[in-house]
Amino acid sequence: MSAAGPPQGAHSAPSGGLGAQQMRDADVRLDRVRKTFGAVIAVNDVTLDIERGTIFSLLGPSGCGKTTTLRLIAGFEQPSAGEVYIRGKRVTSIAPYRRDFSMVFQSYALFPHLSVAENVAFGLRMRRVPRAERGAAIKEALELVKLGALADRYPRQLSGGQQQRVALARAIVVKPAVLLLDEPLGALDKMLREEMQVELRDLQQRLGITAVFVTHDQEEALTLSDRVAVMRGGVIEQIGAPREIYDRPVSEFVAGFLGASNFLDGSVVAREGAIAVVATAGGHVRVVDAAATTPVGAKVRVAVRPERVRMSGPGGEGLHGKVRSIVYRGPVTHYYMDGVGGPLLAYAQNAGAADWAVGDEVRCAWDVEGAVVVAPERA
């Protein structure tokens, strides 16, 4: 994954109990921050630390509180309770313009009456950087986003992608402690968005910027982030590295929000060290449960990613399924099956291996680490 990441490449530390070292390196720290609008709790006791030089994503559906959380860091919203820190300094009651951050807005909010160069110069002027030094900084920032040739244009003369780059240049030229990005790629088409994701990641790593990124696009969060917080209803459901939250979701919501999953209900019938054996309607499945949170007899829900599912003929091992429909997607084929306890879904790589046809009786199996116990949705 993030092999090129600055100092802290590994994210094995648990999301709770932060060591003194991490506290010192946290560029943004929210301590039990709460924000209510009337009777609505938009952000509910959120605590998080964002390490220096990393990209942190706030991911969730609309209305989950991710944008409010970002605006609390910026100071555009005042927390109802809790504290906000930027670079170790408590900024809870400090006005936005005195906080050391800059921001890229979803709508870009480029000043229409200023040229590209003047937009980029704005932050430098406000920070009273002498005119002589501004020129070089503006040029450098515009070259970083590959817009050096468009310095004299006005925002309305630029395409969406170009405007996005200007917004980025305007934000990074002031060398902020934290760069806040509110769905910055949301208005771009898919191709451009994927291109900008790579560029953004590249730029962030070259400059070693700390960035907080709000998005509802799980792919974007997985692609860009060092760490992701999945939010719902004003609460962080899970914080972790992309792989961690994708492979080891703690709840059915997180598993479902980050991609498709098979959910199997059952009860624990035996334990074999770190492994729990769960009896489901279709048969026994084995699940990693290192924390041993599920005693024998407990009712649990098991999630299995469809790409983890291996299909074999009726003589093989695993849960029984009958192919109901097949969707060919180029690199992979999606097999929708009827299982004993409910539907099953498998993504098979199109690597020239055996194909299945509608109506085929198959067996579905997976490696034990492909299955995970999740907190079920409250019905």
Partner: protein, 286 residues
């Protein structure tokens, strides 16, 4: 498809366009034609072509003084409307939509009262036997009544109170439609409240300022009742001269004065637009 839409556009545009040409452009050209003729005792205009109507006005100290007073009065009214109107508009724009609408309606309310009535209201207040003079005399502050009426100041105050709502309403609407993200973007880049206003809010509200200024300015130039009733014979403006010339059967001179008035209006409109450059942000602020 596009041709059809164009056809529709022209079909809709033609009647008002034709009306404008017949009722406005043609008479204007005719008026200009009249202004180039000598006066005649029996006809609307004489037979000799001449620039005399323009040269005599523009070389006459009396008329030049009136032109200067007209521009000065208009400038004073504009400045007062802008400096009083902008802050009011700023706070009106911050109100929630419903309350903003109520306030704007209240601002419109005085406009429903005739200018004649309003002018006499000022006369009742400022006249030699008006409320202010009587009050001050009764209090023993003054012995002789003050000359509060029939001067340029009275005209400025009278017109300003009539025209202020136009300024407030146009600016408030522009500010209310402004995307607050621009101000947040400025703050995110380190601009405090004052600099956010000067560098972002103010330039982005120039379309509203420009429309407000043009409305106030052009209505000032064409106001007659208020000027006559509050300015009296000593504080006449260019419109009054047009009227006086018409009454004196000096049709060609009246036409020439009307064109000088038009030239002033066009020139100052150009100056306002050139200084504010509202086209930079027109239609982008939302």
């Amino acid at each position: 498809m596009k041709g059809l839409r164009n056809l529709w556009a022209w079909a809709l545009l033609t009647p008002p366009l034709a009306a404008a040409v017949v009722l406005f452009v043609v008479p204007l050209l005719y008026l200009f034609y009249i202004s180039l003729h000598a006066a005649s005792p029996s006809e609307i205009y004489g037979s000799t072509l001449t620039l005399e109507n323009y040269t005599s006005v523009l070389s006459d100290g009396f008329y030049l003084g009136i032109i200067r007073r007209t521009i000065g009065t208009a400038a004073a009214i504009l400045a007062l409307c802008l400096f009083i109107g902008y802050p009011v508009a700023y706070f009106v724009a911050l109100l929630p939509t419903r309350r903003r609408m109520i306030v704007l309606l209240l601002l419109l309310f005085p406009l429903m009262v005739s200018n004649v009535v309003r002018a006499y209201g000022w006369v009742a207040l400022l006249g030699r036997r008006g409320v202010i003079n009587t009050g001050l005399r009764d209090l023993g502050v003054i012995d002789l009544p003050l000359d509060l009426l029939y001067n340029t100041e009275a005209v400025v105050v009278g017109l300003m109170t009539i025209l202020l709502p136009y300024m407030v309403i146009t600016i408030a609407n522009t500010l209310a439609a402004l995307d607050r993200r621009y101000e947040e973007a400025a703050q995110a880049l380190g601009a405090g409240p004052v600099r956010t206003f000067l560098h972002v809010t103010l330039p982005l509200s120039t379309p509203g300022i420009a429309s407000g200024m043009l409305l106030v300015f052009l209505l000032t130039l064409s106001a007659y009742v208020t000027i006559t009733l509050l300015g009296g014979p000593r504080s006449k403006l260019l419109v009054s001269m047009v009227y006086d010339s018409v009454v004196g059967f000096q049709w060609p001179r009246a036409a020439a004065l009307a064109f000088i008035l038009l030239a002033i209006a066009l020139t100052l409109t150009g100056v306002i637009l050139a200084v504010l450059r509202p086209n930079r942000v027109q239609g982008i602020g939302r």
